[in-house]
């Protein structure tokens, strides 16, 4: 167990937060959501199995992220809140684990993590889609489209997703604030979360 060169600056930031327990709880919550959505991208499963990591992937990536901040081995950048910095570390570690499972040639192409890549990493897409997986994808899409039928707001939201629009673009087009758009997302998730086709995908 060793401390790093960012120990003092990271701890100074932590000490300046008045409701620190709540902020850590938010960070854990957001990281868990991030890992959950990332693991749903089926092609990455192999890199994140409990067998490979030696522990549950949620525990593994979270432990890595807060240890990196607390030890001072990872710089907590001024532009990020605690939860954002934690998600950035989790994403970087997830990507590193994926890289480890790729070929040597792919490993040499070291990628730089920028905000957009944090969310829209097209390398996650499967390169070979087998018949079983294609049937599952088709079923999932039909579950979503059945669930939102006759709800014009959700249908509009889904159309935006199918057009590969990002958060800001969707909010602008739907004339919503980010907070209002978050409620739309929540309604969509609530409609599909109990579907066995999405449970299977977790």
């Amino acid at each position: 167990m060793e401390t790093g060169k960012y120990f003092e600056s990271n701890h100074k930031k932590l000490e300046s937060i008045s409701d620190i327990e709540n902020q850590w709880a938010v960070a854990i919550f957001k990281c868990r959501e991030h890992i959950r959505h990332r693991l749903k991208k089926k092609t990455l499963y192999g890199a994140h199995t409990e067998e490979r990591l030696g522990m549950d992937p949620f525990d593994y990536y979270l432990d890595y992220a807060y240890s990196a901040i607390l030890s001072g081995n990872w710089e907590w950048k001024n532009k990020y809140s605690l939860s954002e910095q934690m998600v950035v570390i989790v994403e970087s570690t997830l990507s590193t684990e994926v890289e480890k499972t790729k070929t040597t040639k792919a490993k040499e192409n070291k990628t730089v993590l920028v905000d957009d890549k944090l969310f829209y990493n097209m390398e996650d897409r499967p390169t070979e889609v087998d018949m079983t997986r294609e049937i599952l994808y088709a079923k999932q899409i039909s579950v979503i489209e059945d669930a939102i039928k006759e709800d014009s707001e959700l249908e509009f939201f889904w159309d935006c997703i199918k057009e590969s629009m990002k958060r800001v673009e969707i909010a602008e087009l739907m004339e919503k604030t980010p907070k209002q758009l978050d409620k739309v997302r929540e309604r969509l998730i609530n409609k599909i979360k109990n579907s066995p086709f999405f449970e299977l995908d977790q």
Binding site: H11, A25, I28, R32, D63, P126, Y137, S164
Partner: protein
Amino acid sequence: MQKSNSEILNHFYSLLIEMNFYRSEEDIFLEKKYQDDPFIMKHLRQIKLKTAKYRVVQNKHNYSNILTEFKRLSDIGFDEIKKFLNPQEQMRIQPLFRKFEELTEKDKTSIEEDQELLQLIVALKDKLDKPEDE
């Protein structure tokens, strides 16, 4: 161009990731609801433990650096160091040097808490490391 189902779902999850990242932190937990979540509580306990452990490691590291610096100052010798000090500083450091020469284990522990001594060591280190700038 028609998108495949995998492309649509991939974008769907990517959008969820983006929205999660920017989600308002104030809205996530109202009235400390996280206390009902065993996963979050388990990791909060781990964070408390790790915070304490890393602080101990860092304190040891700081202490070791202080002793190394003190040893360096001692090797240079008080007469040499005096050249970098004003009379007031010389008066302050003289008894401290004697203290260092007779250092016991108990004293070593108290050095870490002796803010006056620590500030003096830092000031001396700066003067010795950058004599050209003076």
